[in-house]
Homo-oligomer: 333 residues x 4
């Protein structure tokens, strides 16, 4: 089968091409868009997937079964209906279809939503929590990078009532620079970032409403701060809460273990060990480690993903595998 | 006057030499110790302070008024009494004299304290909170890097009762690699650290009891995790708490402002702005920014220092200025 | 078939495990050695190849067809004969068998060669220049990282007589830190390397005699300096020479093109474009770009490889594919 | 006295402010220009020099003795005559006044020179070679970063006839990213630069004609390639040549030593030692190390500077000290 990729010169888009090039059942097609940033020099005659314009006509002429939109939200809102009408499944990596209502979208993305019907139809593609809906979807909204790690780390414990929600959850999140996308910007220029570290969007990141919607938490229960690490790729979230009914770290690990027993992309660590970014870079895994202090009931959970893989392109291919009826791990291990 | 520096080839020790070289009232003397790591190549005839053995005889022959110990705790316990007996003031940058009782030291540093009398005598050198005691001290215990930022950010609010201590404080701390000292170690080797990020000593760092002792907080009230940033120098702590009686970020800033009105090395940011590491690197400042959500009473404070300056050598010189009767900012602005 | 890997916790060894794990025709076996550095924490139940001691008995009990030695030279000299006697092909990634004579080895590696017969027997495994010998070998000496790039860039031009050898060749080489191996060392610790750059082994690197032996150049004809880049992986060599009979950059590219027409792992750039490290990281390619100034006859060639792949583990697997009769690119594209 | 700084938010301009803030005889004034990039958040009430518009009126109203132009060449050509007419000395850090003739400027900077009279008048400000002319100048053209290191390393040997110029000199130059200036650009964005290394302007950098003009070398005699290091600040040039009449590294060092005996900002290394970037970062020094192979007459010289200090702001202040009649090292040691 064949997959079109719009935004293939961006970091998430390039990662999609990299994964699909190695996927045994798919052939990637590059869909050129006027919005694309500049390319990189390439070797003579370097193997390169075929390309076509990012139009609905290309869906038919290139016989595309699925189209990935690794584009800004406004481009996704423009292209998604065209690609769907031409008969392709669409997997959108932007925030365009994550927030359920036009009002919420307006509040957090500071522009009107132009496709409210598609917003209502879109399925949130976090396979560990909505696998069946993904399989049946036409339009899949690929989760944000921060919410992917946060949901995977927090929801099993919330479901089991292990967390004292009145005391609240702190999610201190750190991301590599590729999360900001491939573009010219003073804030992400090398000399501003190297040897530096800073917080941004304190308690006010647009990924917060996404986490709240999907996890069922209320705003007062989750304190989330995003921070910029001087490195290319990876997200690590350090999550603090109180677990009054828990007696050991092992008990928390067991809750995850029961919930994720059949999940191919969630890995747990023994108490006393924590994942780092190196554990997950260039993989589709979400790694989770746990620390617990029985004397005071305080817990710390560390969750790590690669923001471009499980936080973007890898999870998008995981969703593609589901929607096309492939084995969920195909091309991802 | 003249200051001896033991451990001048380490990162804190080299920073001491750098500062004292420019200090208008001091002359540094390098005190060689068998424990020293290897030096760096230097230009022909590069200006280098005089050197002498790290013995009490050198205190007398070199007429040293003060000796800085930028050494491991066991070396500090060995040298501090010798240097004091020879008549020098001693400023110790290790953890040897920070934890008040031999039992606490034994628990966190995993070895017996060999100088209990000096441990009882030592003055904790955080000038913003114990300036007068420092002026009168013989032996000053220079604070740890993490506790310096944590105390400066937390204590004014605790003193004013602004924090809901029952709900607890989360201090998510990140440090550059120089905090681990200058030594051969696989964990701090370049390829293990670059493009990586990891948590260590989760809820269990030896700087926690130091913060508790100095701030008056109880263990259950402070959740502290240390994390390793892929950069050379700087500490940034992201601190979360609830402030039920506070109505705005400006109110929190005002508490700091009142407390630090006359402090030359604490700087505040207007609400909406946060310090980054670049703001403080190679300075003796502690920069503090505040975010507050009036709807839910949740607050986030970001505090940043250079771990080698305000977190080590700079603060040590600040203490030296106090103990020698100089202007507190001499050589530090 | 099955391949044993000694030194699997080092950077080259870990890269071998990574490649062989994905190789469709091979199963890796980890051979534990007392010399190994410490491991990294791993997720619960993470898939891990089987392991065995690094002994000749393991070759038989594990039915190993080939053993990779990603070890220091002295360990390779100890293990190579044992593994060969037990019936395995041996591919050695150290410098133990690269320099042809015990005298040369003694001069550059500062110790006696304990296996002169094997030294005489070993085949230098640079497939682009000695493919047939590799196919027939028992013991393959995998080339050094710097010599791999240097030979691929220089030899086609020397063979064609394009370079003015009397004027000499300058090879200014830069390598990432992983080239120094995985070990505790002050020189490769993060704070010494980050934001730094330095030359080492100026005109005096042990890879120089290896290049001279394989390229046929004389010492006076090649000025080689190695330099340490503040990054993890990759080698880039900037090569300067005079090409009096050449009239354009395209003519130089044509020489490479003719020589490497059937080579799957050498890629050329159009004049005006140069490879960077990003072009080759995590691939087995050697990328080559050319600049030429017709007015003065001066040429600059830039060659880039990943020191852990084409410069070590990838080339070792390329050699394994040859010696086991597989397709040369198996598992490497 | 008072110095105006145009372009104070750029990297060179900010370094000027940093140096002049500490200069005992000068007071800096920030001259706002429409071309300025965005500022950084600052602490409440942070000490900040006074500011004024970048106009000739400000020269008079602020009583400026000297104006630094840390601006693009076209802005320097616009402002230099205005500031000179208002009575200030002008030190220009751009390339506007370095290339002597409008034709050369047109060729390398791809635009017409609008101030040919000033171009003819401007004095090239490399104090080690044109100290007296600087003292008497009205308009000083501050040297480029690469030419500063290249001239200091090459010219003493050329003057003494130590280099075989027919065989040519190779200058393989590497620079940190701050050399590209503070601006939004995809090429210098963090994710494109980190863990990467690349050559640019091979044999074709606009700093080459500057070196040729000042050193007296011909184009065929100097092969220069610029390369981008993944770090903030520093230039290291590795220079290769043949020295047929030289018998030892010490002899080369002696030539430098004789030439630079009274130079406060050039430092030499003993044979066997080479400077790295750490040796010179945040200093106004140029450090030079030498390697020589007596058997073949090949020499390698390594020269290192901080591109923002000796390569820009520091050298500009050195020139200011000369032109204002101060001690040359004032504020720079």
């Amino acid at each position: 089968m064949r997959a079109g990729i719009v935004g293939f010169r961006g970091y998430s888009g390039a990662e999609l091409v990299h994964i699909l090039d190695r996927h045994p059942l798919m052939e990637p097609v590059l869909l050129e868009h006027r919005h694309d940033s500049g390319g990189r020099p390439a070797a003579r005659g370097a193997k390169r997937p075929p390309s076509a314009p990012s139009t609905s006509a290309s869906v038919r002429s290139e016989a595309l079964d699925v189209v990935f939109l690794a584009t800004p939200p406004e481009v996704s809102m423009e292209l998604a209906p065209q690609m769907l009408d031409a008969g392709a499944k669409v997997i959108d990596l932007s925030g365009a279809f994550r927030l359920r209502t036009p009002a919420l979208y307006q509040r957090w993305y500071k522009e009107s939503h132009t496709q409210p019907a598609l917003l209502a139809e879109a399925v949130y593609g976090l396979p560990e929590f909505c696998r069946d809906a993904v399989r049946a979807a036409r339009l899949i909204s690929n989760p944000g990078c921060y919410p992917t790690a946060a949901n995977l780390a927090i929801r099993p414990l919330v479901e089991k009532g292990a967390i004292d929600l009145a005391a609240g959850i702190v999610c201190d999140a750190k991301s590599g620079v590729s999360g900001a996308g491939r573009k010219a910007s003073l804030k992400t220029s090398f000399c501003e970032v190297t040897e530096n570290f800073s917080a941004y969007s304190v308690l006010d990141h647009r990924h917060v409403p996404e986490v709240l919607l999907t996890s069922g938490l209320e705003e007062a229960q989750l304190s989330f701060t995003a921070q910029l690490l001087p490195l290319d790729r990876g997200i690590l979230e350090t999550i603090y809460f109180r677990a009054p009914g828990i007696s050991s770290a092992g008990e928390l690990v067991s809750i995850y273990e029961a919930r994720y027993a059949d999940e191919p992309f969630v890995r747990l660590y023994d108490p006393g060990h924590m994942p780092d970014l190196r554990s997950v870079q260039r993989t589709n895994f979400c790694d989770i480690g746990v620390h617990f202090d029985p004397a005071t009931g305080r817990a710390v959970v560390v969750a790590a993903i690669d923001n471009l893989v499980k936080g973007a392109a890898g999870q998008a291919v995981q969703n593609m595998n589901l929607v096309l009826g492939f084995k969920e791990t195909e091309g991802l291990l």
